[in-house]
C-alpha cells in the first residue's frame, strides 16, 4: 500500500465508534478495504487510457497515476473559465464537463472494480455479516469515486475561489458532491439500459466501445477547445440566453453555486438550488430502492458467468451449416494470393475490427486526423471564403493525403502487439515457410482498411472541387501514401501480427522513429507539391512509385523466420 491508500484508509476508518454502533466488525472491514485498495493499486490505470502490459511487469502505483492524470484533466478543464461572459456560464460549462468526465471514468470502473463478483465467492462464504459487507462495499465505492472526483475538481475550485472570493468554496464542494451522486445515477441508468437492450455477454464490448469514444472525445476536445477560446462568439456567450437551458442539470448546479456564494437572490436561482439538491438525492434514492436489488444479480452475469451464457447450440448433423462469408473475403481475393498471405489479411481484418486493445490504441489517432481534416474549414468559417478552384484547396488536399501516413504509422506499430499474444503459437506450429507472407497480408489489410477510404474520399473531393486536371496529382498522392506506409511497414513491422506482448521497453525508441516517420512523408510531400505543375513529371513519378510499391511488398513477403525479432 502506498501513502495515499494508507491515508484514505485512515480517513474512512476514523469513525470506528460509529461502525461499532452499526454492528460492523471493524477488523474485518479494515481487512476488506486493505485488500480492495491494494488490488486497485495494481490494476492498469483507468481514466480511459488503459494500457495493457505483459505480465512481466507488475503494475504498482495505479492509484497515484490515476490521481495525476485526473489532475491534468482538471487543469485542462480550467479553460471553461476563459469562455463566456458571467460566472454562471463558466461554472455551468465546467460542471457539464465534470459530470461527463466522472460518468465516463466510473462507467468502466463499476463492473471491474466496484462490483467485484469475486466477492460472492471469497467474502460471502466467510463469517462476514451483511452489514460489514455492505459497509465495505459502500466505503470502497466512496474511496474510488473520490479518487476520480477530487483531482478533477480541485483546480476548478481554486480558480473559482480566486475569481469569486473564498465564499464560493463551500457551495462548490456541495455541488460537486451532488453532481457525483447524479453521475452515479446516470451510470446506473446506462447500465440498466445496456442490459435491457443486449445480452450480458456483449456488455463488456459495449463498455469497451464507450471507452474508445471517450478517448476520441478527449482528443477532439484537446484539438477544438483551445481554438474555441479565441473565437469571439465563445467569448461573449451567456448560458442563460440559451433556450431550454433550465432543463440542463449543470446549469442548476452553477446557478445554485452562485446563489449560495451570495450572488444575489432571484426566484430562478432558488428553483435551481432546490433542483440541484432534490434531484441528486432523489436519483440516488431511486438507485438504492429500485436499481440495486436486481442489479447485483445482473452484474453477476456480466463478470462471472459469461462463459456459461453461451452453450453449445446443438443442431442436427444432417442440417448443413451455412458458413458466414465475411465482408472482407472478396476484398482479400483482390489484394492477396491464396495461402498464408490471404490468411494474414483475413486474420488482421478480424482483429483490427474487433480487438478492443487494438481499437483503443489506433482508432483515436485516426479520429484525430479526421478532426485535423475538418479544422481548416472550421477556422475559415465557411468554405465560400476561399474560392473552390484556388491552389490553396489543392495544397490542403495534398497535405491531408500525406498526413494520413501519421496515424497509419501508429497503427503499423501496434499491429504486432496484442494482449492475446500467446495465441500466436498457431503460426509457430503450422508449416509456415515465410512469415513475411502473413505480415504482408496483414499490412495490406491495414492499408485497405485505413488508407484507401481516406485516399478515395480526398481524391473524389479533389476532382469534385477542381475538375479532372487534378486527378494525376491525387493519384500520385495516393500511390506515394501507399509507398510511404509500406516502407514504414517494411522498416518497423518485424514481428508476426498480434503476436507480442506490449512492453514498456519497446516504447522507448518510438520518439526517434516517429520523427523519422514524420520526415519521410513531409519531404516527399514537399517535392510533390513543387513538381505538381509538371504533368510529365507526375506521370513518370506515378510509374516509379508503383514499381517501388510492388518491390516493397515483395520484400515484406519474402521476410524469413531468421529476419523476425522474436
Amino acid at each position: 500500500m502506498n501513502f495515499i491508500d494508507r491515508f484514505l484508509l485512515r480517513v474512512v476508518m476514523f469513525p470506528t465508534f460509529l461502525y461499532n454502533k452499526l454492528g460492523v466488525d471493524t477488523l474485518q472491514l479494515r481487512a476488506i478495504l486493505t485488500a480492495k485498495l491494494t488490488m486497485d493499486n495494481r490494476r492498469p490505470a483507468s481514466f480511459g487510457m488503459q494500457k495493457r502490459r505483459a505480465d512481466k511487469k507488475e503494475i504498482n502505483g495505479a492509484t497515484l497515476k490515476m490521481i495525476l492524470s485526473g489532475l491534468i484533466m482538471g487543469l485542462f478543464m480550467l479553460f471553461s473559465f476563459a469562455v463566456g461572459s458571467g460566472m454562471v456560464t463558466k461554472l455551468a460549462l465546467f460542471m457539464t464537463m465534470f459530470i461527463f468526465m466522472v460518468c465516463l471514468t466510473l462507467i468502466t470502473d463499476f463492473t471491474s472494480v466496484l462490483i467485484d463478483i469475486r466477492d460472492n465467492l471469497i467474502l460471502l462464504p466467510k463469517p462476514v455479516s451483511d452489514v460489514t459487507f455492505m459497509t465495505g462495499r459502500l466505503l470502497h465505492i466512496a474511496i474510488r469515486t473520490s479518487i476520480v472526483v477530487f483531482p478533477l475538481s480541485v483546480p476548478a475550485c481554486v480558480t473559482a475561489a480566486i475569481i469569486q472570493g473564498p465564499a464560493i468554496i463551500l457551495p462548490f464542494i456541495l455541488m460537486i458532491v451532488m453532481m457525483t451522486l447524479l453521475s452515479i445515477f446516470f451510470i446506473n441508468a446506462v447500465y440498466l439500459l445496456i442490459l435491457k437492450i443486449t445480452t450480458p455477454a456483449k456488455f463488456q464490448n459495449i463498455i469497451g466501445s464507450i471507452q474508445i469514444v471517450f478517448v476520441m472525445i478527449v482528443m477532439l476536445a484537446y484539438q477544438v477547445l483551445p481554438r474555441m477560446i479565441n473565437s469571439s462568439i465563445m467569448q461573449h456567450i451567456s448560458i442563460s440566453e440559451i433556450p431550454f437551458v433550465h432543463f440542463v442539470p449543470s446549469f442548476w448546479f452553477a446557478d445554485a453555486c452562485m446563489l449560495l456564494s451570495g450572488a444575489g437572490f432571484t426566484v430562478e436561482a432558488m428553483i435551481s438550488l432546490v433542483l440541484s439538491v432534490v434531484v441528486p438525492v432523489l436519483s440516488i434514492w431511486v438507485v438504492i430502492r429500485f436499481f440495486a436489488p436486481s442489479f447485483n444479480q445482473k452484474l453477476g452475469m456480466i463478470t462471472g458467468g459469461t462463459a456459461e451464457q453461451n452453450v453449445a447450440t446443438e443442431k442436427s448433423g444432417a442440417e448443413k451449416q451455412v458458413i458466414k462469408q465475411s465482408f472482407w473475403q472478396p476484398i482479400a481475393h483482390w489484394f492477396t494470393k491464396p495461402g498464408a498471405e490471404r490468411a494474414g489479411f483475413l486474420f488482421a481484418s478480424h482483429m483490427i475490427t474487433r480487438s478492443r486493445d487494438f481499437k483503443m490504441k489506433v482508432y483515436p489517432s485516426f479520429g484525430s486526423i479526421l478532426i485535423i481534416c475538418i479544422m481548416p474549414f472550421l477556422q475559415n468559417h465557411t468554405l465560400t471564403d476561399v474560392s473552390l478552384g484556388s491552389p490553396k484547396i489543392f495544397r490542403l488536399l495534398l497535405l491531408l493525403m500525406y498526413m494520413c501516413s501519421l496515424p497509419m504509422s501508429a497503427a503499423l506499430m501496434q499491429v504486432s502487439y496484442s494482449d492475446k499474444f500467446k495465441a500466436s503459437w498457431i503460426f509457430f506450429v503450422t508449416p509456415l515457410e515465410c512469415p513475411g507472407a502473413v505480415i504482408s497480408g496483414s499490412v495490406k489489410c491495414m492499408v485497405v482498411f485505413f488508407l484507401i477510404p481516406f485516399a478515395m474520399i480526398l481524391t473524389l473531393v479533389g476532382v469534385a472541387l477542381q475538375g479532372y486536371t487534378v486527378l494525376p496529382n491525387m493519384l500520385l498522392g495516393c500511390i506515394n501514401l501507399l509507398v510511404i506506409c509500406s516502407l514504414l511497414a517494411y522498416l518497423s513491422v518485424k514481428k508476426l501480427p498480434f503476436s507480442t506482448a506490449q512492453e514498456a521497453s519497446t516504447r522507448g525508441n518510438t520518439f526517434v522513429r516517429t520523427m523519422l516517420f514524420l520526415l519521410i512523408p513531409v519531404t516527399i510531400g514537399i517535392v510533390h507539391w513543387l513538381l505538381s505543375g509538371f504533368l510529365w513529371a507526375i506521370l513518370l513519378w506515378i510509374v516509379i512509385s508503383s514499381v517501388a510499391l510492388w518491390l516493397i511488398f515483395d520484400e515484406i513477403k519474402k521476410r524469413e523466420w531468421s529476419n523476425l525479432n522474436h
Binding site: 451464457q309 453461451n310 453449445a312 490468411a343 486474420f347 503459437w425 506450429v429
Partner: protein
Amino acid sequence: MEPIIHIQNLNKFYGSKHVLKDISIDIEPGQVIGYIGPNGAGKSTTVKILAGLLSDFSGDVFVKGIDIRKDPVAVKSLIGFVPELAELYDVLTPNEFLSLIGSLYNLHEEVVAERANRMLDAFGLAGNMNQRMDTFSKGMKQKVLITSGLLHNPEIIILDEPLSGLDANSVIIVKEIIDKLAKNGKTIFYCSHMMDVVEKVSDRIILIDQGRVVADGTIDELRQLQNKDSLEDIFAGLTATESMHEASEKLLNAFD
C-alpha cells in the same frame, strides 16, 4: 519398421537449468504414447521440441526421417498439435479461426470449410460456428483447438492435456477419437496428468521425472516391474520423493 519419431540423447537447458537429460525414445507408426510425469518434469519441453517450437537443444530429433532442425516446416506439416492452455484469438469465430489455421497448413478453402463444418458438428458446436469465441466456455474452446489440430489430417498428433475443461461426454468422444485415429494408423503422443485415461488409451507409457525417462513400456510391463496395480500407484512409486501418506500426515499435523 523404421520409427516415425526418433529422439536420441535429447538435452535441453533453460539458462543453467538442465530440463531434459539424455532423453532417447523411438516411436513406431500407429503407437499411442502416454507421456506422463509430475509437474516440471519436462513434458511440455519435449512436446515443444517435437512441435518445432524450440530449436536450441542438443541431440537428434527425427520425425519420419526428417531432421527437425534442418526442415522444421516439413515436420510441422506432418504434425497436428493441440496445446495445453487454450490460448486462442477469441475475437474470431471458430469458422474464422479454423480457416486461418487451414490456410497456414496450405489447405484449400473449400476443404477447410467442409472439414471444419463436419468436425465441429461432431463436437456439437455446429450452431456456434459463427459466434465469437470470447463467450465460449473452456470446454468449447478446447473442442475448437482439438479440431484445429486434426484439420489437416496429420500423421502424428500431439495432444497436451486435451481433456482439460471437457465434460464427461466430450471426454468419451475424445477417447474414442484417439482410439479410432490409432486404428487408422496415426501416431499419437499423449501428454496428461489423468492417469486413468492414459492407462486406457495408451499402447505404451513413458514416464519422465526431473528430465529423465524413468519408465517406458506397456501398462502390463510397468505393472509387473513395479508390482503395483494402477498406473497411479506406479507413478507415485517412481516419482514421489516421500510417501503420499507422510505428506498428508504433515498437513494435518500443522494444527498441533
